[in-house]
């Protein structure tokens, strides 16, 4: 009995310790943004890797999401004779929810796991220690640069996903449902309120933060050689995906609460 209690206590302590370490890492990485040296070249390099490198997958995600949403939306709207207004459904659902969430999930799969595996490999080959030995702050050099790149590029990729999804919806609406081009785009933008854009940009900022910091934490906490690298990569991917979905719900709830 005592052993079981001790084991539960250890597990709880372990989780609390992880949350504490994660919060500490996030705090250090964010405060590092404001003190020199600033690694501008590295930040631009990661912006290119994260942004341009993820362009293809977010374009594919956007276009197919928009197309399938139009097909499904048209089926649901047909009994009410509202198929021509399908673009309202597409634009609101894509800008408010699907664009940010799907882009973030795809970026978590590609970028988050990449960050985790890269840092994990550096950790097990003593490169992080070598950086410290060379007088470099690894948090500034490796984490703050990636964090800034994610905070800039994830919203940009989300805007691209939103645009491409609406374009994908247009292709189906025009060529499969014979909806007029002017009609489609007019109603697509008519349905959106200015706050929807704000709302659709705050979410990717939060998601970008989650993807980067979870990946960095998993990478830096790696131990146990190549097995550890694999575990960190999986852990980063799973944790960031779950946190994206959870935070999406709470952000939506918050926005509704404050009257957005």
């Amino acid at each position: 009995m005592d052993t079981a209690v001790a084991r539960i206590e250890d597990t709880v302590k372990g989780y609390v310790g992880t949350v504490q370490e994660f919060a500490q890492l996030c705090g250090t990485a964010m405060t590092a943004v404001f003190r020199p040296p600033w690694y501008v070249r590295e930040t631009v390099y990661y912006m290119d890797r994260i942004g341009v490198g993820s362009l293809f997958i977010v374009i594919l995600t956007g276009i197919f999401t928009g197309m399938v949403l139009t097909l499904q939306g048209a089926i649901q709207l047909e009994p009410y004779g509202a198929v021509p207004y399908v673009s309202r459904l597409i634009s609101t659902s894509v800008v408010r929810e699907l664009g940010p969430v799907l882009a973030a999930l795809m970026i978590a799969g590609r970028v988050g796991s990449g960050i985790a595996s890269e840092l994990a490999s550096m950790q097990v080959t003593e490169q992080i220690d070598a950086l410290r030995a060379e007088g470099t702050d690894p948090i500034k050099k490796l984490i703050t640069t990636r964090l800034l790149a994610c905070l800039i590029m994830v919203p940009v990729l989300t805007i691209i996903t939103d645009g491409i999804a609406m374009f994908g919806g247009y292709l189906i609406a025009r060529f499969s449902l014979s909806i007029d081009t002017f009609f489609y785009w007019t109603w697509a933008f008519e349905a959106l309120r200015p706050m929807d854009f704000v709302y659709g940009l705050i979410k990717p900022l939060v998601f970008g933060f989650i993807v980067c910091m979870v990946g960095c934490y998993a990478g830096l906490a790696t131990s146990g050689g190549t097995v550890g690298v694999g575990q960190s990569t999986t852990q980063a991917m799973v944790t960031s995906s779950i946190l994206i979905l959870m935070s999406d719900f709470f952000l939506t709830k918050l926005f509704i609460f404050i009257g957005f």
Binding site: D129, A133, E134
Partner: protein, 271 residues
Amino acid sequence: MIRFTNVCMMFDGRPALKDFTMEISSGETVVILGGSGGGKTTMLRLILGLLRPDSGSILVDGQEIVGLTERQMVPIRAKIAMVFQGSALFDSLTVRENVGYRLYEEHALSDDIIERLIVLSLCFVGLEDTLEKMPAELSGGMKKRVAIARALACNPKLILYDEPTAGLDPINTHLINELICRFQKEQHLTQVVVTHDLETAYRVADRLIMLHRGEKIFDGSVDLLQASDDPRIRTFLKPEEVLTEPGCFPCKDGGIRMAQPEAETIRGTPA
């Protein structure tokens, strides 16, 4: 240059260093000997401030480093260079960028001077033709030599080596031993070499310290070490004379234990 006073360090409830005290003077090359898990690498990491001891005091170049923050450690680390066991070259950088890493980061010298220092350091280790290569293109021995060039480029007062010859062929082992000796003779650098390679230890050491399960069991010259009658030292230096029978293993206290599994267990049919 370095002074450890009653340093204790535990890992997962197991002592890595027990009440460890030692002193290393400037210009001295000290070899830390000992088996795997003996606390040798822990000692190097403590000097660099990569780990913090549970208790005790560590002075580096006259300054107490226990309790310093990462930022306060930066000027102390500027005097130290470390050659890691796996070389720890930065994968994404070329040899040139690896060797000149600290110089580029410090922004204290012009690019021309940095370039000259990089080439000089690489010439010293005989790898001046690898400037544009990536670490993945180098052999194990070359990586170690580039790591030594990286250490040398920043003009340190103290160089720490973690198993500098582990896993290398005899030629590379010889080359690295000679480099350590040259630093000693030509530049009078203080050097701490952690190894379990006796050939390296005998070749480069001014003084030897032997660790056994976190405890210092010897501090003295090569001759004194070889003459020691401590069973733990004798087992380490000449295992073939002590562990003579098949199934013999060394004990914690330096004695010998016999592990003779049941014949049936070996065949997979336990009694």
